[in-house]
Symmetry: none
Subunit: 218 residues, 4 copies
């Protein structure tokens, strides 16, 4: 009857785990909110703590220092985006070039749009820490994934794979950056997506799709 105690077999670990992850979540969410609402300048540990509903000390129980907090913010998002792109890639193994590019681009954009708020926050946070490694590493992972996907396509001669992968990925990232930095409007976003798809078709001039790409461009 006074059951709860007996029903759950492993009550010890889970609460801790949950409490901790709740706290972390709350802190990160608070950081995002503040970044969006007040910009980088407003992002002080005290304010993050206060908004998260926890004390400063608690924040420091989970993050060694402010930079690490921001790092985690960046990391989380980049990992998410890369993961989404990787799934899209593996779904397209053996498909034709156009589909591949479209799929990756769409997955990439979707992952970013879906967490638009975080992306904006990350972009702001990004500046304070001066560690582009995080971005570079994510960039590399994305490029590698894309490269191996392209490798599964009989359409592409191996000479171009690397170049195309590099271009694709840098355009994807560049676009995202532009969107959230300069606040381009949706329309532009869509246009950019098409452009990305088209541009890469240039690298396969024998493909019939080139004509289509060009004609749909305007």
């Amino acid at each position: 009857m006074n059951s709860r105690k007996w029903d759950t077999p492993q009550p010890r670990k889970l609460p801790r785990q949950t409490r901790a992850s709740n706290t972390i979540e709350a802190v990160l969410e608070a950081a995002v909110q503040i970044l969006i609402a007040e910009g980088t300048r407003g992002l002080t540990t005290t304010r993050v703590a206060k908004r998260s509903g926890f004390a400063v000390g608690t924040l420091y129980q989970y993050f060694a220092n402010k930079d690490e907090l921001i790092d985690m913010l960046v990391h989380r998002h980049l990992n998410h985006v890369v993961a989404c792109a990787q799934i899209a890639c593996s779904d397209q193994n053996g498909a034709n070039l156009g589909d591949m590019i479209t799929a990756v681009a769409d997955a990439f954009f979707a992952a970013n749009i879906e967490k638009a708020r975080d992306v904006r926050a990350i972009h702001l946070a990004w500046m304070r820490i001066e560690r582009s490694e995080l971005f570079c590493e994510a960039f590399a992972r994305l490029r590698d994934t894309t490269t191996s996907m392209f490798a599964s396509s009989p359409q592409l001669d191996s000479v171009h794979i690397d170049t195309i992968a590099h271009k694709l990925v840098s355009m994807l990232i560049g676009t995202i950056r532009a969107i959230f930095e300069q606040g381009m409007d949706e329309a532009l976003t869509t246009g950019t997506r098409e452009q990305i798809v088209n541009v890469h078709c240039l690298y396969h001039p024998t493909d019939a799709s080139l004509d289509t790409a060009v004609s749909t461009a305007h």
Copy 2:
């Protein structure tokens, strides 16, 4: 006799002006040096003053506050770049589309490469102040200039002018940003330049240059 003072019509103002601009120049230069050498975190008013050879107080005689100093840094460069682009544009009035694009792109890149050190510094400074207006405004001016240049071309139907101008400018800016942020290597840079030129040719599919573009792409 003790002539000099009376010979020149405006003796009081000019020297001051000169002194002032010397000071401003020295301060801005110091800021650039520090930004490059020590990053955003090292950019303190005291340090800028010391490196400039003036006292902090003097710095505040010419800049209302730190942000204004950075603003001026950004402004100066953006104005320079836009001015260069504008000259290129006016030189191409009535030329054909390909030449126009090439000219603007080249002028734009040249202006940035020429002051590469400043661009790097500005990119770092950029982060601390959160005023994208400056960039947006420069972006707009560049786009307008390009648009009116395009308008002088009989090749382009007015429907596409806006789109192409926008694309061109955003690609230019995006590229510059990428170069200085991710440190892309020269080779890539060159590739990007070609890409820019080519991509825009897509918008004029009937033009013979498309084929060339494609064939030079690889």
Copy 3:
């Protein structure tokens, strides 16, 4: 059946006692280890708790606060040393002056050397709490014990007893402090011991015991 509880007569108290003292022991030992390894600055309650294998909360079940923990550390050692000296004193009742001094000094040094690690730790801890009472009190006890030992000697006229006792004890303590603070080398230590024995004989120069003292010294 579920016997254990009922079989032993005082089951509740003893286990606790034992557990308690185990905990206390573990905590104090942890404090010593940390003091030696990381210095005063590293001595935080959390760290002591963690190293002791218990939780912070548990630590606070046995010590009202951090200072009390350090107090206990100091107390324990001082009590030990004084106790050793007292035993030596009572063993020397009625002996001659030289033997008395030698015995106390040796007992004192032995007790400190034996727990050299603790002494070092205590010295570091000593600084944070500002309660010289502890030391003063131990000093007084030591002096009193020594005084009454000397009083049992027919050799000494009462005039000098207090002075000699005071000197002896302060030299003992001073020496220990010097050894652990300045890390004097063994040779010096030995020299000091001899000096202590000799110096005190100075106060009774005409006394025949001087010779004895000197000869027993090595």
Copy 4:
């Protein structure tokens, strides 16, 4: 007539110098006061600043950090004491051993007693920073000075000079420490002084009463 401006030839450098050293003086004095009044625990940069009558920022214009402030406190005093001892030493060149020892000991004690308040403060501060180098270095300087003074005496065979110097200096320091740490009373102090002088006479074997003692001492 409106003279002041013209009377003083070098008005620029001095005011600065004076202002600066005044500030430093005020800050150090404030630190001493606080240490004496409130102990090590009360010594916070903010409080020191407040009591000195300056702002925290000013404090940090002269001391890189809290530890450096304390360092300077310690340094200043040690330098003073060593300097006093050195003067005493040079005054005794060629004198006899007894006078030498007496002179150094007296100079040493005088220098400490004279600044008793500082010494107390330093003793408290001493503990927070864990840099015995300062003391060791002062100790070494004192010993070297004493050694060379002894070397000027024809009375002493070179074998003993080092030992005596070392003993003398370590007793001096030990005594001072004891006085200010355990708060020994004046009477004791005097006694100690005599003891120091006497002890070292042991090393002067011409004294009849001490032959035995001396021979066992080494």
